[in-house]
């Protein structure tokens, strides 16, 4: 990061179900805080039109032109290579060139990952990127890795996730000696599928602060700070978890229909004081996660994310830059690789 300027985040303005409206709005929200520079990357006419809807004068937001857009459903590798002027690729290259310190995109996550691998490269010791993230303010101090980048994992990848997750917990969650748990179907050593059973032994011998298997019921308790799991389970778990708030609110509304007074009180409480619909995704982890393993800070946001998610994601990207997570991860992975653990 350049020392003489604020952290600069490249924002893919064209990626996501509600792009560019919600993305530009999110950038404006983040820009209003004034502690981060933002480069909106995309089709200039569309971005200018959206910016004109907001009071953005004087905000630290500039535009970078990218004429193409990678859409959901396009094969990631060929889309990235076929569309060098896409917002995802142009934004990634801004990080590569040092013009920006981080990127956030709600575009197709496969394309974001491919672009990051192609243009930023991988950090030695981590073969494939992994998405790490937590469960927001509802369960602070825990994070899960991988949340969906690797549907099929090899046992040794779980060790890389544990190493990266430990760096994440130390640098971003402020946990000095994070514990690592392996998500399984039981706490005993022999529980779980082949991946988990093999991963258990590798983690046990790896030198990370491994506390053994943890079960689904342990996730939110903070029994382990870093929860290692394959991307298939991680993604299913994340989406299920994120659906709980809205579902619980709907369920309560339905149950309280017959009691108008109670319903009114509940609405007051749960809309304002305890926004239960947001319980499962609040704070800087809301709506996006860091793509770990690539040689640059990349935040992958949900396709359906809204302005507040983007604003939080930008804040989270800034925090990751300031914490120098890449600088912290490189020597850790190098050490584990040297010791033959990766």
């Amino acid at each position: 990061m350049a020392q003489d300027r604020k952290v600069c985040v490249a924002v893919d303005a064209m990626g996501g179900d509600y792009a560019p409206e919600e993305i530009v709005k999110g950038a404006v929200l983040a820009g209003q805080k004034g502690d981060v520079e933002i480069v909106l990357v995309g089709q200039v006419d569309a971005m200018e039109e959206e910016l004109a809807r907001h009071d953005s004068s004087g905000l630290p937001i500039r535009l970078a032109e990218a004429t193409e857009v990678i859409r959901e459903g396009e094969p990631p590798a060929s889309a990235v290579r076929r569309k060098p002027n896409s917002s995802i690729v142009v934004a990634t290259k801004l990080v590569k060139s040092g013009e920006a310190d981080a990127i956030i995109s709600a575009g197709p996550s496969g394309a974001v990952a491919v672009s990051a691998v192609q243009h930023l490269g991988m950090i030695e010791g981590m073969e494939r990127p992994a998405i790490g993230g937590g469960f927001g303010s509802f369960a602070p101090g825990i994070l899960l890795m991988d949340l969906g980048a690797n549907v099929d994992c090899k046992p040794y990848q779980l060790v890389a996730f544990a190493v990266a997750g430990s760096v994440y917990a130390r640098k971003l969650l402020g946990v000095p000696n994070p514990t690592v748990g392996l998500l399984s179907t039981g706490a005993e050593e022999g529980k779980g599928n082949e991946l988990v059973r093999e991963g258990y032994h590798l983690l046990e011998d790896s030198g990370v602060n491994f506390i053994g298997n943890i079960e689904g019921s342990d996730i939110l308790t903070g029994k382990a700070n870093v929860i290692v799991l394959d991307g298939f389970v991680g993604n299913v778990l994340l989406k299920f978890y994120e659906s709980i708030g809205d579902y619980a609110l709907g369920w309560m509304r339905h149950k309280l229909k017959r009691y108008p007074l109670l319903g009114w009180i509940a609405k007051l409480v749960f809309d304002k004081t305890l926004p239960i619909a947001k319980l499962s995704y609040e704070g800087e982890e809301e709506g996006s996660g860091i793509l770990w393993g690539v040689n640059g800070i990349v935040r992958v946001a949900h396709g359906a994310c809204r302005a507040s998610h983007i604003a939080h994601g930008i804040a989270g990207a800034k925090k990751a830059v300031v914490a120098d997570i890449i600088g912290a991860l490189k020597p850790e992975l190098e050490r584990f690789k040297k010791e033959g653990k990766l």
């Binding site: 094969p75 290579r81 491919v114 691998v117 192609q118 991988m122 494939r128 990127p129 090899k154």
Partner: protein
Amino acid sequence: MSVEEQIRDIVSRIAHVDKSIITRESTFKDMKADSLDVVQALVAVEEAFDIEIPDEEAQKFQNFGDFVSYVESRAAKKDEA
């Protein structure tokens, strides 16, 4: 080590397949390699041979043999220069 053997090493390492099953007719799909594997293989080969593989060329590769032939021709031109 020949260009083909070097590329086979790289692809085998990235796609986690045994070198012996990679023939010139093999496709990335045959090797169950996904998008990231393909990109990582291209980047690794570019670095190993200090060449840049333009996107339009990479898209033409139908199989491992096409990939190898392209890199061989680029490597030969580089040696001549």
